[in-house]
Symmetry: C2
DNA sequence: AAGTGGTCTAGACCACCGT
DNA sequence: CGGTGGTCTAGACCACTTC
């Protein structure tokens, strides 16, 4: 993290989350930030841009930079990598591994992962439990050539923390498709709801910064417990 | 649109959508774009940034700029303003106005819109019909001091086109909350499904660039027909 | 009119990819 | 190593808000 604008962005993000600007609901001017951090204006503006994209602040030409309403916690944040652990901060998150093994890609999965049929994949099925109640079922496939090792320990805590910090993967972008279905019997049983009750589904295709797809996942959420939040900017 | 980087972004977006780079799956280098458009590097990079944020391309340091997989059309795009008409391009979209009148804000709505109880609002309830079949029910509130006039004609086509092009509103950002419920009787009837069938819900709070909330909406989607797509970048 | 963000330029150097 | 993006600087001028 030797990059100035990221350090500044992180610093300001911490300040915002710590409530440092809550009384004014306003950030220092660009001018002031330039002086505080001793960098050029472009660097400050790049840092600020991150905060805008995160949905933390908005800028008004001629007026200043303001805090956005605090988003309700305990919503799933579509735009973050961070997973349940970071989204539902006030809750107890537990994970039960239902399955974890190496499999070979069959046709449909290979097509979606853009890899060869027969390629080695990690297959993981987990039940996520929030405040002692079943919350979601997550099925993931990881390409084994990119994620060479996984175990129950890693899969029980944050897989993404492991991918980023230990494997040093550079995660770049993702496609998420959200819809809603009648839940099947097996999943209903796991989530303690009735078959044909609603289920909120997120299907996720994740790529490295170089464009390689490395993960495919499908999450089935308890319809009464899961809410997704997305903050959008139009520029 | 006298702004260079936006013009360049729009131009490149058009080229991408027209398939101009489909054979190479690669865009010209920054250097080449600088020469083509005769602008500085920063301006080119700002334009490119828009395309990255739209999920159209990705950049790889040391290598180049590449097209992302084409997203399937006929998904609702969470990150766009443009609404069904622009998302479901291959479909016939019709809109039936169920209600449209001026109302006064009662407490709950006033709180969400951060306005006074009793303020004048437009209340609109619409049934959206896609390829001759009911697709969603949309209930919206607009602050009348910001949207002083609306009629059936406008509400039948694209309200946002009217807000942006005719009223010249500067729309800035929005919070979207997505979840899933058992549908009620009245809505089930409109969507031609059964009560207690699933429904995909999007609640939307939209602000001008200056931070003023001006719209609140709730859309109830047919669970078999609606899919939401969101493209995300991690930077 | 003063304050503050938005756009744009020109140029330097660094980091990563592929040959 | 050459090609290509990523970061950073310094300075100019414009556009909008606020008083």
């Amino acid at each position: 993290m030797a990059v100035k604008y990221k350090e500044i962005a992180d610093c300001l993000e911490r300040d915002i989350r710590d409530g440092k600007f809550d009384t004014a609901k306003k950030l220092p001017t660009e001018e002031e930030l330039i002086n505080n951090f001793k960098v050029s204006r472009n660097t400050i503006r790049k840092a600020i841009n991150q905060l805008v994209n995160l949905g933390l602040i908005y800028q008004v030409q001629g007026s200043g930079m303001f805090l956005r309403e605090k988003s309700i916690t305990d919503y799933i944040n579509l735009g973050s990598l961070r997973g349940l652990t970071k989204d539902l901060t006030s809750k107890i998150i537990e994970t039960k591994i239902l399955e974890l093994h190496v499999v070979t890609a069959e046709e449909e999965i290979a097509k979606q992962l853009r890899c060869e049929v027969g390629a080695n994949l990690y297959y993981i099925k987990r039940l996520r439990i929030v405040d002692k109640e079943p919350f979601s079922i997550e099925i993931s496939y990881f390409k084994k050539d990119i994620v060479p090792y996984l175990n129950e320990d890693i899969a029980s805590s944050s897989i993404y923390r492991y991918l980023i910090e230990d494997l040093k993967l550079n995660i770049g972008f993702a496609d998420k498709v959200i819809n809603c279905e009648k839940i099947g019997e097996a999943n209903a049983e796991l989530l303690l709801i009735k078959p044909l009750d609603p289920a909120l589904i997120i299907e996720n295709t994740v790529c490295l910064t170089n464009g390689t797809i490395f993960e495919l996942s499908k999450s089935v959420f308890h319809y009464e417990k899961a809410k997704i939040l997305n903050r959008i900017n139009f520029k």
